[in-house]
Symmetry: C2
Subunit: 293 residues, 2 copies
Amino acid sequence: MTYQKVTVVGGGTLGSQIAFMAAFSGKDTTIWGRSEGSLERAKARVDRWENEVKAYYDAADADIESARDHLNYTTSLEDALAGADLVIEALPENVETKTDFYEKFDKLADPETVVVTNSSTMMPSQFAETTGRPEKFLGYHFANEIWKNNTAEIMSGPETDATLPETLEEFSREIKMVPIMVKKEQPGYVLNSLLVPFLDAGTDLWVRDVADPETVDKTWMIGTGAPVGPFGIMDLVGLNTVYEINKGRPDEKSQHAAEKIKERMDQGLIGQETGQGFYTYPNPAYLEDDFLS
Amino acid sequence: MTYQKVTVVGGGTLGSQIAFMAAFSGKDTTIWGRSEGSLERAKARVDRWENEVKAYYDAADADIESARDHLNYTTSLEDALAGADLVIEALPENVETKTDFYEKFDKLADPETVVVTNSSTMMPSQFAETTGRPEKFLGYHFANEIWKNNTAEIMSGPETDATLPETLEEFSREIKMVPIMVKKEQPGYVLNSLLVPFLDAGTDLWVRDVADPETVDKTWMIGTGAPVGPFGIMDLVGLNTVYEINKGRPDEKSQHAAEKIKERMDQGLIGQETGQGFYTYPNPAYLEDDFLS
């Protein structure tokens, strides 16, 4: 057993999922939220994850109740950090928000407490000094719907203690994740380092009108045996995220792609979340029997 | 029914597969080879495809015999082209070889004969004028093991008659392919336009020692539900092909990748073909039950 007392800072989509899986795995887990309102929203999310996890693991009611018993909520950062073995920061992707937290953490947390960031778009090392313990800090990245997409990417920074990744590797297995060892700092870790160029390639074929989204997906699915193509994945990720990625890049091609994506967003075609993206949900064409024929 | 008399020019891996599927589908098919030796090699390939197709379609012996009856071989280009409805050029990826063929084709073929190129790396339009009938010419691209990976990418050039893609679409279905309509000329058509950046992204993570090949594949397979990751695909494609792609690009990153790939090739680690690539065959680790845990 590695860490027992786990605090998740931020109860958004990922934070609440991580916290629930930790609690479901018997860890004494605390979610910190900045206000009672944000904690209420976190609790509502956890209610959904309870159902998802129960179905996914075919878990007994008692297991879910036990998870609930292992999960605490607080708006007091002091309480949240007191005695924590591991703190998982899952705050919004905003440098100031995170820096502000790490400054407080440095003052409030025990010297022994390990702290990791779930940031997917920022380089963890930029926060290392602020934590006051760069050797006890690294990047720890989860994917959405973590019970199913159960990768936990573990990425050291230049100052991370060499033994820490191993401990996180063990902890990851304890909370039912598959640890993914990233050997050096890499924007996007492993998954997004593959996914982003792949989605870019699909987007480019569509933006330049080389082929229809369904044609592109069909080609990939037949050619590689994958269950979904780039446009199906974009619908899962949400077109708003794809838009942000393109919008944030300086080159003309990405800006043009962002414009084309924006046109669809303005029509509400965001993806699975809105029921309509490149496909119509809950029964997208790419799941139909005759899609590949 | 579209074309009945089909000639495949070149009996290499793809040429022999295309010809066999056409014959298996009842087309009167001819393979042209430059010498008796190349025809012998083509026949040996067809013997292998017979077994593969028989197993894949669970076909009766009579179906395979009928396919054999529909398949002719000749070294006479004049005979091969006489009366052909459709000529599929599947010669090696060499501009001079192809140009030489199209010059002869222009002189020998009926004015009505449609001609298409299976080239995967060249832009079809560069041969359009040489055919003497640019309106009856387009790119028609198949994937290896076409009975299983049964995409047929149909890509018009600037001068292709607007009705030709539709006819090829129908012909594709007649020979059990899924037609993929590529709306304008695109290097790599659809499949390679997705595959190459995807494999590049995987290669980069490995070359820069960010993550091990198995870790990268595992991440992709868990994250997207795919049955194989970039390194498994590279083993299928063959590392020599991945090497050529990198070697052929001017940038330093690709040249560095080519060097690293060359080191493995020199050790015989080509992929599935040599029994050893990033994985060991016939039972690569990524197919094992515990690979994703």
